[in-house]
Amino acid sequence: MSQCRTETGGRIDRSRKLSFTFDGVQLYGVQGDTLASALLANGVHLVGRSFKYHRPRGFLGAGTEEPNALVRVIRDSARSTPNVRATSVELYDGLIAESQNRWPSLKFDVGAINDALSPLLPAGFYYKTFMWPRSAWHKLYEPNIRAAAGLGRAPEGADPDSYAQRFAHCDVLVIGAGPAGLAAAQTAARTGAHVMLCDEQAEFGGSLLDDPEALIDGQPSAQWLQGVIADLKARPNVTLLQRTTAFGYFPHNLIGLNERVTEHLSAPHQNLPRERLWQVRATEVVLATGAIERPLVFPGNDRPGIMLASAARTYLNRYGVRVGKRAVIVAGCDAAYAAALDLKAAGITIAAICDVRPSADGPAAARARAAGLAITTNTTILGTRGRLRVQSVRLGHLEISGSIRPGVTVACDTVLMSGGYTPTVHLYSQSRGKLRFDSTSHVFVPGTSAERERSAGACKGIDGLHAVLADGAAQGLSAAAATGFAGSPRHYTVVATETSGIGIPGALPQPGKTPPAKAFVDFQNDVTSKDLALATREGFESIEHIKRFTTTGMATDQGRTSGMNALGIIAKDFGREIPSIGLTTFRMPYTPTSFGILAGYARGDLFDPVRRTAAHDSAAALGAVFEDVGMWKRAWYFPKSSEDMHAAVERECLAVRNGVGMFDASTLGKIEVVGPDAATFLNRFYVNNWANLAVGRTRYGILLRDDGFVYDDGVIARIADDRFHVTTTTGGAARVFALMEDYLQTEWPDLKVWITSTTEQWSVVAVQGPRSRDVIAKLVTDIDISHNAMPHMSVANGRICGIPMMLFRVSFTGELGFEVNVPAHYGKAVWDALYEAGREFGITPYGTEAMHVLRAEKGYIIVGQETDGTATPDDVGLTWAIGKTKPDFLGKRAIARPAMTATGRKQLVGLLTLDPQVQLEEGAQVIATPKQPVPMTLIGHVTSSYMSSVLGHSIALAMIKDGRARIGETLYVPMPDGDIPVKVTAPVFYDAEGVRLNG
């Protein structure tokens, strides 16, 4: 055991030795250590380099407030995490850690040249330079700045770990398990309320863990703690979450918790998630988030070995580590004395205690004096020395005149500072609660809550263990009562040294207006008091501007230790009070939170649900290649052995034109519209006239948005007087349904109409081609499917293979065709049966690509391909579908607007390349005259383009300005290698008379 480790005491297990490496050097710690305490136990103080000046840095704190000690923790090659606070990493056997932002080594870092150049690099220097020559910013300056910036390195491989997510509800969520949180949770739990208690640390206890001498209800704090935890654990109405950070406070008491499940384990089980996201909806929230000690701002306050007094006390009392041999204590708050006393008792020489205040007469100071420690008041620090570890401090004495008399230089290896405590109000502020400035303690404390929430203990500025416990119990009781659970108050007896957390915000007094050496306010981002002064000098007055100009508070610690000091300095510079400077908004998350827990299970196939049709496996067995359409997997084409896509599509198309093909149309949206007013509703919703649609007949419907542009289309069947079967596009199913609901609920609540999504209830197989009737005739019963009995655009109920079926005679290919609708769980069986029945006719499964070609040959549009949200029905040649006698329908007024009927609108036409083997590219633009210089006058674009096997040449559909008037003209499609001449035609290329439909 090293000399830094005490022989006894602390909450560590000295018998369980753990090995770890830091920058390749093997070291040992013990069970219960953090990486920070283990490094300190080995005498390692230098652990990092600062962001901008690459100054050597050690530990400032012992917990989440730590700005300096950021390391990369490496579990294996795929599991490395940058920028981790060593103070929050629990040590495990075999842990590998590396320092960051240094080259070639931590002790000798070339980047430290920035420190020497710092006179040239004040806050915001980059806004003033690097502007000449113009292109040099992107090519020269920026790459160098980027290389110097950043901290750690991103992981290189895909993260193999998993992350879990849970939702939970509770009556009372208590955040923070220090004395206030434990008292709140226990008091609330005793009422019977469902209580959740979380704490970011490995152990519950908070400040009690640092204070072994305190007696609560006659018990030493550790024993009391054990009792409370055992009591809570035994209660079925309590959920305890250790290693769980409440990172975000969202509206209506939704709290995000980040539980670290395996991070502390040497060899985690592979089935365990690394972290777990809890989204907790709490009726009442108790914030018991404690307070954080502030550093003091004086020249050279950042050298390794200079740390918060509370941190030194934590390292000693909790981890059994002496942070040095000879310490100077700098007090702006009585808490420093508690540290001085504990350190002295542990054998550390207290070289000096300098209190910057005019007097030191609190109980802690009195105890220090009684212990023989000399205190000099009215004393400031003028500077420090020591490159990789502090070696001495130079004192200064405040005279009554206001001047400062230089004092002695005191040799030391440790400086402990305490500037007072800042309540941790991050979550409170995130909840949009209003903060109030407490002019006695010079800090912001919770004021008026915005949520059903209350703060307890130190996070609302309460000092002293007894007061904190009492407040915790009172808030726990009140929270439980607010959820309807009554209980009785709790009282505690406490024997402890009560120290006030009141300190001084801002910088220690210096002889000049600004100190000669750097006095750091934001340690990680290297923001000094001079930088803040420069910002105010340059006219930045809003605290938000100062933050952004200097970057103070924007580091990974989010200004936890710097915020109040910065405000104090700025207020002094402006000669104003702190509240008038304002406060920057506290942002989610409280501490940096893994992307992984938010992404959660959404990876691979679970990234987005995969929707497969009932016949998916049959299509796959037939060799289908699938494409993603929305969440659906749709069969794209069915290549045989060596076929490429082109060959497969050509074969599939010809089969439909000459024989019979089958197509899985199940993904189309289906909505059942039912009720006495169903026809009225559809009349208002779609452009078509539905009143005169007979039962057993279908019609092609067009839906506009209120802006008059085509939104969706699909065949709608009248199943009964009061019942319609509406089909939508695959992608439009959810949107159309939502739009229907929107109108039914907000515009036409008087209509008696009920809508139900039936997309997943029906499996649909389209059987298309001249032989389609022959195929289905083998399987269909109960329906006469002859042409006269079942003409084009009709629907009938019957059976197929004995299964109830709704049969449509419809065609999206221009051929004789049927669409077989069966309950989805029969989908695969019916697909297979149709395939078998069709074998003798050479039935050919075809995919979406062939479907697209076949419909394009017929000039049928696809919403989203021919239309793009800017096309009216007339633009795409569908004026015929509009019900002429209807008083109104969605979009009717819009399509009467001047611009919707003006000339110059793009209209749907066909294009034929003069060279029939040249196929246009979809999305290519169209111009009227060839060889135009850029920018060209574009008059349209190609929406669909295919090689038509039945026609033996390429075809294209296009939207062209005044296209219908240009039929017969030659236009040009400008491509990078030249213009392609095209002839404008009508958009129907095949069977313009439509005789094949009637086969």
């Binding site: 000449w132 895909a158 000098r537 990974t556 992984g596 959660g600 359409v629």
Partner: protein, 417 residues
């Protein structure tokens, strides 16, 4: 105006940087101005600058109810590109993109415009069709935009996962090499400083509470939290609050305001060379000069003026980020925030005169206003100075929503059959 340069920085360093002046004056409102801009974001400050620099108006004020650059200017993910589909949009955004190139030199303020390339991913056949249509239209309009195969996309952005086995594999990408990012705060401050040097009064903490009009209905003064300020020309450039301000003059705007969130990771060494956007799976990411991954999330489903959004919206974009860049799963979110985006029915802005004489409006930028800052400010200043639109913003009227001449950039959101 004190010149900013390496030389001036060196000189001032000898005096401990005590010689720097305020970047803009803390102006108090004068009784009357020749023109007032309401809204101290990049667009408003820029308009004031161009009014002074190019149109000879120097008695100008910018009124900002909070602190300048504190709205969407300081809250966006700083993506700059111009590869829009329609001719009208392409002209507007390309005008802006060209101005970005020398904005630092024009303003003598390093706005750190970095043309590192903006890549938009295609994940479906339909995406490919839509993106290729953009590429073709852009080429013919002289706007830089190129189609990349998945392998080429990976070469340009090595962290990109182009594995065929992911849920929505990358099928290609459009790359605008001349697009990139800039330092958002610097844009507001740079315009403020340059405008101030030309005599523009920048007045913070000044909220407009009323619009006074003369007997003919024309604007004559603004009632503000700092008193009555006269002006016959008022340009409103207040993002989501534009509808509130114009409401004071009885002008209704077709704007809806939604919370839009963004987040940054902890800073890391350079790993991500460009901007990557995926509209279909909602991922927008780049890496800042400081080293943070800057990630844009989607809008909330409901209209709101609260500058925060729901957690699941962030989660959704991080799902996409982790899918496309699986090494980032262990990265950590450092800071999340929300802004308010003002959205028009066709997702294109309004830069126009209003039915009220002397009242002009620049709003409706939705999620994409930052990139347009210089160009928009430039044509808005023209519109105010000349009382008629610049040819570039002539199509971006309010009346288009009445007569139907929309510029529907949401067109790309159309879905497949």
């Amino acid at each position: 105006m004190q010149k900013f340069s390496a030389w001036s920085l060196l000189k001032k360093s000898f005096g401990g940087h005590k010689g720097w002046q305020s970047q803009w004056r803390r102006a108090t409102p004068k009784p009357e101005y020749d023109a007032i801009i309401v809204g101290g974001g990049g667009h408003g400050l820029g308009a004031a600058y161009y009014l002074a620099a190019e149109h000879g108006l120097t008695n100008i004020a910018v009124l900002e109810k909070g602190w300048i650059g504190g709205g969407n200017t300081g809250r966006n993910t700083t993506i700059i590109r111009s590869n829009y589909l329609f001719d009208e949009s392409a002209r507007l955004y390309d005008h802006s993109l060209k101005m970005w190139n020398d904005l630092a030199q024009v303003l003598n303020y390093n706005v750190m415009f970095s043309p590192r390339g903006v890549m938009m991913l295609a994940h479906t056949v339909h995406d490919v069709q839509v993106i290729k249509r953009h590429v073709h239209a852009n080429r013919c309009n002289g706007v830089d935009n190129a189609w990349l195969t998945p392998a080429q996309a990976k070469e340009f952005c090595p962290p990109l996962n182009i594995d065929d086995n992911i849920r929505y594999p990358v099928m290609g990408a459009a790359l605008q090499r001349s697009g990139g990012t800039a330092r958002h705060d610097a844009v507001a401050w740079g315009y403020a400083r340059a405008a101030d040097a030309l005599g523009v009064d920048i007045i913070e903490n000044c909220e407009v509470t009323g619009i006074r009009r003369d007997a003919n209905g024309a604007v004559e003064a603004l009632e503000t939290s700092r008193g009555l300020i006269k002006s016959r020309k008022v340009g409103v450039s207040a993002a989501g609050n534009t509808s509130v301000v114009l409401g004071l003059a009885g002008v209704r705007l077709p704007l809806e305001s939604f919370p839009l969130q963004a987040l940054v990771s902890e800073p890391i060494k350079p790993v991500f060379p460009c901007v990557v956007m995926s509209n279909s799976i909602h991922a927008y990411v780049s890496q800042s000069d400081k080293g943070e991954l800057v990630i844009g999330a989607g809008t909330d489903a409901y209209t709101s003026y609260t500058q925060r959004g729901a957690l699941h919206i962030n989660a959704h974009t991080l799902e996409a980020i982790c899918e496309l860049f699986p090494m980032f799963r262990r990265m950590r979110m450092l800071r999340n925030w929300g802004g308010i985006v003002d959205v028009t029915p066709d997702r294109s802005p309004i830069i126009a005169k209003t039915p009220v004489q002397g009242l002009y409006v620049n709003c409706g930028w939705g999620t994409g206003g930052f990139k347009a800052t210089p160009g928009s400010a430039h044509v808005f200043a023209w519109t105010i100075a000349k009382d008629e639109p610049h040819p570039i913003n002539a199509p971006f009227t309010i009346e288009r929503f009445r007569d139907g001449t929309l510029i529907d950039e949401a067109a790309a959101a159309a879905v497949a059959h």
